[in-house]
Amino acid sequence: MSYIYYPGCSLEASAIEYDASTRAVMHALDIELAEIEGWSCCGATAAEPVSSLLSFVLPARNLALAEKMKQNFSVMVPCSACYLNLKKVEMEKKQNPSMSASIDECLAEEALKLEGKLKVRHLLDILANDIGADQIKNKVTKKLSGLKIVPYYGCQCLRPYPVFDDPEEPRSMEPLIEACGAEVFPWDMGAQCCGASNMNTKKSAAGKLVQKILKSAKGADAIVTVCPMCQLNLEGFQEELSRKAGEDLSVSVIYLPQLLGMAMGISREELMLHKNLAVKELVLSY
């Protein structure tokens, strides 16, 4: 199996461990990734308030570059914000011809054209549906017995396009976690918003959302994420939110492929567990 790969800006910097662990797990599963040559930013959540058209053109540029590599293929996207932006263009291309014409006019500046022949897929979708828990289980060499995990999905891999999971009560991570020998710890915050896009400009509102999620995770050994924005938001503010709440809200936060990689016997160094901002000894001891 092989996929076109769009890492996105975060995976080169604040989420470098998400990139490393994704590549390591795919390698272990004999899946080839072809990175889009010359890819650029998808616009994140910043393009849309600045210019609606720009928020379509930036992801479209990347899909057009990807089409030059292969057609009728899946593009794997690990970041949920990138995924939504790219997905939005895939959907809009089919539904809105006038927007499509403006996009083409902009892409022509770089002699690019979007045919709309690629399928944008989230990493979680591919892990859960193309690869599946059974194949992961076959590769597990070190069962993570007793490790209690809460799966956190966030928003943008589920909504507004519910293509691979229930957008309110997602479950797609559970079989993968169980395949590792770990336990799914029950909670109801998996699809709730962490407020990441507000953390920089409306910090107190975002802080409240993060606090609620961390409180609900009490009793679990780790939160598992599939988005660099969620990850940074949940791992980066634990001390100050604990102080505000008057209780210890610290908890390990790791990416899904890091968890899978641990069970598959991939080294901590390769999974870059030293790069996460909140990982406790207990998790590292596995």
Partner: protein, 182 residues
Amino acid sequence: MKDTGSIKALLATCMQCGTCTGTCPNADAMDLTPRHLWRMVLMDRADEIFESQTFAYCSTCYFCTLKCPRGLPLTRAMSMLKEVAYKNDVKTFRKSGAFYGSFMESVRRHGRVRESEFMTLYFLEMKNPLLPFDFASLGLKLMSKNKVSFSLPSGADGRGQGNLDRIFKKVSEIENREEQMP
């Protein structure tokens, strides 16, 4: 001009049920509830809309869009209000606007975002010497993990993917053209 006509057209079938408010994780922090804001849009009350901070608090979780019984693209409407506020330099949106604008400026210059550069651009734009302290704690953590480095704002450096200047210019050109259409 703060024109919300195209947003009003999107929301024409809103029946003011308030499901959007009920599903919004940030409704508590908003001065107008989302339902109230949509009412203002339907009544062309631009002053009230842009004196309000409500749209700036939308964290694009898409719950309202998912649950709206009329199937209205409410998150998209929030973003369209942000865009009108950004383009008209609306006072209540200036901080968010400076943040998004700095982010996109870094993308225009380099094709990919450079976190430390865009934060520096943001601080310069806001001209508030205390603002960087809001980010000091997280910034230090990221630096200690070697995830961001200090770099001064710079022009396109010709390395890697190059800049997106031509595409950005074309986008503005099309937007200006569409604005002039009746």
